[in-house]
């Protein structure tokens, strides 16, 4: 089986298609393409445990981050505050359905599914319960990564705060802190999750 050893011991750069020998990495190292410099993959330290921890923390934070009011304003004795869910219901009330759907998907649905996907896969690998359905789950992870926009939403909140502070009395609520922590977990997950090792693990276990 000459072909078999080629596909297992080589890797092709996804940016320039150069065929390279599969590098052997130590924990914390990155493999870069020698031809174009794109990152091929990296080996993460204690990836499974860390990903489980970050994903659980992120999922727990989702409730306060979406339900608690983020910021509020007061003027002339009137007061109003809004949470992320309020933002979306308001968009539906004002019949901006496309916008409501987009905001819901990019800030709630996709980030949640992304955390659940990562948790489910790392959990199954940790406890040696690997089944073919995991392939379908993990295949979607890459797509979910592209469409997670919590970081942009957070910057949006910051810009709004700056804007509002000049218009009225602005208050910061618990939702903002939860949102910061959630963003931290969501970002950390891209750092802790080791996609290359997970694929390798799935392949090894399902072959047997």
């Amino acid at each position: 089986m000459k072909n078999h050893s080629v596909v297992n011991n080589m890797i092709a750069c996804h940016q320039c298609d150069s065929l390279l020998p599969m590098p052997y990495l130590l924990e914390g190292q990155n493999a870069l393409c020698g031809c174009c410099g794109a990152m091929l993959f990296s080996k993460k330290k204690d990836a499974i445990n860390r990903t489980i921890a970050v994903a659980i923390a992120g999922l727990l934070l989702f409730f306060p981050a979406t339900l608690l009011p983020i910021i509020g304003i007061g003027a002339a004795g009137l007061y109003n505050d809004a949470s992320l869910v309020d933002c979306i219901t308001l968009l539906i009330d004002s019949r901006n359905y496309v916008l409501a759907f987009a905001v819901f998907m990019f800030t709630i649905a996709i980030p949640v599914v992304r955390l659940i996907t990562a948790l489910y896969i790392t959990w199954c690998i940790k406890f040696q319960q690997i089944k073919p359905s995991l392939l379908v789950f993990f295949r979607s992870y890459h797509v979910l990564d592209t469409w997670t926009m919590l970081h942009v939403f957070f910057l949006g909140v910051i810009v709004s705060m700056y804007k509002l502070s000049s218009l009225a009395d602005m208050t910061i609520d618990g939702g903002l802190f939860s949102l910061i922590l959630l963003l931290l977990c969501s970002t950390l997950m891209s750092v802790t999750i080791d996609q290359h090792s997970i694929w390798h693990e799935l392949e090894k276990s399902l072959e047997q």
């Binding site: 080629v6 596909v7 297992n8 080589m10 890797i11 092709a12 750069c13 996804h14 940016q15 320039c16 298609d17 150069s18 065929l19 031809c35 174009c36 410099g37 794109a38 993959f41 983020i70 910021i71 304003i73 003027a75 002339a76 009137l78 109003n80 505050d81 809004a82 933002c87 308001l90 004002s94 901006n96 496309v98 916008l99 987009a102 905001v103 990019f106 800030t107 392939l135 993990f138 295949r139 890459h142 592209t146 469409w147 997670t148 926009m149 970081h151 942009v152 939403f153 910057l155 949006g156 810009v159 709004s160 804007k163 509002l164 000049s166 218009l167 996609q195 290359h196 694929w199 799935l202």
Partner: protein, 223 residues
């Protein structure tokens, strides 16, 4: 010239990056069972279609107002550029710059970048491969950041809701703007960067063979 997987009859899976021996133009990855091709099929056609769709959406996104600001029941609508002008008038230059970059420079730059990349897969260009790779990275990275203004308007509309005193409502322009951002992300996703390297290799081969052809021509004439 380095080895290319395509030339060796191999293809790497777009989802799990596993190397596969290609038996057909479209086949299932041996590791993750994704159906894939050695190159994204009709990559340029899809990228072009999404980019044009984004460009079309860019027009109403800038003509129609993004939000309407009601003070004491009096509506005041503002488009992207008008909103930025208001910021400058209020002396909030940093915010004006951020919004201008995120909602005007970045989307337009992305569309121009995508057209440049598509052109580079077909023709010989002045850009080096490294620059083309960087351009692709920038276009890919910038994708979600253009949504900034959409989120700002969303948050503002939800928070500034003090009845008759003052309130903000999102207007139709923002829907077009959201669609434009989504379309540019689809366009970047459809683009296959390996086509840039394929094109480079093809042109280098061509110019080499052209030179040898000319040389033999000269020899013939000499005879």
């Amino acid at each position: 010239m380095s080895n290319k997987a395509l030339a060796a009859g191999l293809g790497s899976c777009p989802k799990c990056h596993k190397l596969n021996v290609m038996h057909a133009s479209r086949q299932v990855c041996s590791r993750c069972l994704t159906l894939f091709s050695a190159r994204k099929p009709k990559s340029i056609e899809y990228t072009l279609a999404w980019t044009i769709a984004a460009l079309v959406m860019f027009i109403p996104a800038n003509i129609y107002p993004m939000m309407v600001f009601y003070t004491f029941g009096k509506p005041e609508a503002s488009t992207i550029l008008e909103g930025i002008a208001i910021f400058i008038q209020m002396g909030m230059l940093p915010v004006a710059v951020i919004i201008f970059i995120a909602s005007f420079v970045v989307p337009l730059g992305k569309i121009i970048g995508l057209f440049t990349l598509m052109y580079n897969t077909k023709r010989k260009t002045q850009l080096t491969l490294k620059q083309q790779g960087q351009l692709y990275h920038i276009v890919e990275f910038l994708g979600p950041w253009s949504m900034l203004d959409v989120f700002v308007v969303t948050v503002m509309a939800a928070v500034v809701n003090l009845g008759f005193l003052s309130s903000i409502e999102p207007a139709v322009g923002i829907t077009y703007f959201t669609l434009m951002v989504v379309f540019t992300i689809f366009a970047a996703e459809s683009f296959d960067p390996r086509l840039l390297w394929d094109n480079h290799q093809k042109h280098n081969h061509q110019s080499l063979s052209e030179k040898t052809y000319k040389n033999t021509d000269v020899l013939h004439h000499d005879k």
